[in-house]
Amino acid sequence: MSRKLTRRRFMATTAAGAAAVTFKFPAPAIAQAAPFKLGLLTVKTGPLAQGGIQMEQGVQAFLKENNNTLGGRKVEFFSADTGGNPAGAKTKAQELVERDKVDVILGPLAAFELLAITDYIAQAKTPLMSLAAAEDVTQRRPNPYFLRASACSSQAMHPMADYAAKEMKLKRMITISEEFAFGYEQMGGFQQTFEENGGKILKKLWPPIVTPDYTPYLAQISDCDGVCQGFAGSNPLRFMKQYAAAGLKFPVVTGETGGDDALLHSFGDEAIGLVSCCPYTADLQNESNKRFLATMEKEFKVLPGFYAAGLYVNCQVVDAGLKKTGGKSDDKEKLMAALKSVSLTETPRGAIKFDHLGNVIGDFYIRRLEKAGGKLINKTVKTYHNVSQFWTYDEKKFLQQPVYSRDFPPLKS
């Protein structure tokens, strides 16, 4: 509920009396060293607002800690609400680039939003850093102005499959995920690695995006030794409740969104035992994460998850990149090259660097959901170091196979 207070502060500056609005033009840049203009494409209305609000909190946390500077320059921050649809993403991207003349854009949230603006961003030569997991933007159709410091869809699922096969000793699993690209790409990655390690995927279930009741699918889960799910947004909560309600007891593994730390305060006890693989984990013990957690607690009274942490790390990358160019952001190509060459050791998610296609190489954490001190926590049980988007596969070979989809890899039945 205290989140209300922060939003009220924000709202107060955006005209509480909405009827009596007069147009405010963006404040002219104060005549000091020209401020660094940071744009954020996020979603603050509608069902995707859950992740979108957290994204903005991540950026605000970083700016708060660093006195509103990046690379030594004062920051002018433009936050744009895309409404969670591609036309809105395109319009807001244009607003940031053409009207506000931002130097770097963070976001957008959803894969389809990213795909809508990727050509435009490449043309406008504006560096873009997003959490959106669409694989091909750093694989088969790479955008030279795009960096991803979080993970692509399958990046967390390869180590998850490895862990499921080798440590959890699962052999016959059923996958279930939403029927859209993020779901396909996650489950495809899981299937490929799981089957290479001696496992077998028996069935792949795909509930449509709008499915209030998963029971028709849960009724098909039987005669296996584990379930892999890839739900995102608010769906993991509902899925785990209905999974438990259906009397299913098989171990459940999931990716970065299914067991996100930000959902811990919503989950009930039925989620205990959920194993997830995520590029960020709140229990990572390093200085940067301790500071990040403290800021998030102080400013927003929340435990951050993968969305907030991802944007915080993005800001760190921009900060480091700007320091490399000596604070200069006029030459977009130089700035992009500097950002791509950033290699950090102290971030809330550990050490990161980028591969030549702009995707992150970093640590991925396997966590188990447990109850400690009356609260639910994710406890890290294993860390996979230096995981790239290609896992242990040869990059050329990987790029030759089609992108993970509903039918690739095919079921071996």
Binding site: M1, T45, D213, Y217, S222, R238
Partner: protein, 290 residues
């Protein structure tokens, strides 16, 4: 065997929830000819308000059922206010009714986002209803069976109201012929307020009753509204029996359709709806031919 049994029971359960959701819509449309596009938002609002009290989110924690009553009454009052202040000005102006109900649904959705944030809200299954009823290898969650009972109770109650009470007679008269009803001395405008409040309250009750199953999250309104519309279309507008049969039917189509025809999961509800509309525009039991 277990598979079929589980799906059958779940069809009835889900149908029960859909009945609670759509009965209100059917009543409102049947009596007032208003397509209440706010219905999904009222469902969501009821779920949020109920979740707040059932989970003690503002310090006061109530028994689940008491919280459900609070939610129902709150949203019913909101519905009554909406009808008196806004909808009453628009008799017969269907376009304006669409505009105002959609406008209100935008406002409710954003309001819920402001107040409860973007994260989903978990509602625990009420005490005594957690757990399973086992029948051989199959396990049926007790709470879901309870939903069937609740739906039947409400169906019976609504039937009693409509068929055996004076108020019900007035409502039925108003549905069949509002002008004649006025001539006979029925205070149709007061009736409208009561029915709208009843419909809104039912939606809210459905929301909180469904919350242990569905949780509460932004976007719940947009997920549930098309379902209400499908039930009302198939069952027919203005008919309680139609709502009930339609709900159970949709429950079956939803469960078996998605399980047996996964390729058509996106169409499993709207294709039958389209077929029924083309062949019989007033629905299976409807009294109003649009």
């Amino acid at each position: 065997m277990t598979f079929w049994l589980v799906l059958t029971v779940n069809s009835i359960t889900f149908g029960g929830l859909l009945f609670l959701l759509s009965a209100g819509f059917s009543l409102i449309f049947g009596l007032m000819r208003i397509p209440n596009l706010t219905h999904g938002s009222l469902f969501m609002l009821g779920a949020y308000v109920g979740a707040t009290f059932a989970g003690g989110l503002i310090g006061l924690q109530l028994n689940f059922w008491l919280a459900a009553v609070v939610a129902t009454l709150t949203v019913a009052a909101f519905g009554a206010a909406t009808e008196r202040l806004l909808l009453r000005r628009l008799p017969g102006n269907q376009l304006a009714q669409v505009l105002v109900t959609l406008g209100i649904s935008f406002m409710i959705a954003d309001f819920c986002l402001m107040l409860w944030g973007g994260d989903p809200v978990n509602v625990l299954t009420p005490e005594g209803f957690a757990g399973f009823v086992r029948a051989g290898p199959a396990a049926f969650p007790t709470y879901r069976l309870a939903i069937i009972v609740i739906a039947v109770i409400f169906a019976a109650g609504l039937w009693f109201l409509l068929d055996r009470t004076r108020l019900g007679a007035m409502i039925r008269a108003g549905v069949d012929d509002p002008d004649m009803a006025r001539v006979v001395g029925i205070r149709v405008s007061k009736l409208f307020t009561i029915v709208f409040a009843l419909g809104a309250g039912l939606a809210a009750f459905a929301g909180i009753v469904g919350a242990p199953m569905l949780s509460v999250y932004p976007g719940l309104d947009q997920d549930m509204l098309p379902l209400a519309l499908v039930v009302v279309i198939l069952g027919g507008t203005g008919s309680l029996l139609g709502s009930f049969v339609g709900s159970i039917l949709i429950g079956f189509i939803y469960n078996f359709g998605q399980a047996l025809l996964p390729e058509l999961a996106y169409f499993v509800l709207f294709l039958p709806m389209l077929l029924v509309l083309i062949l019989r525009p007033q629905g299976l039991f409807g009294r109003i031919i649009a």
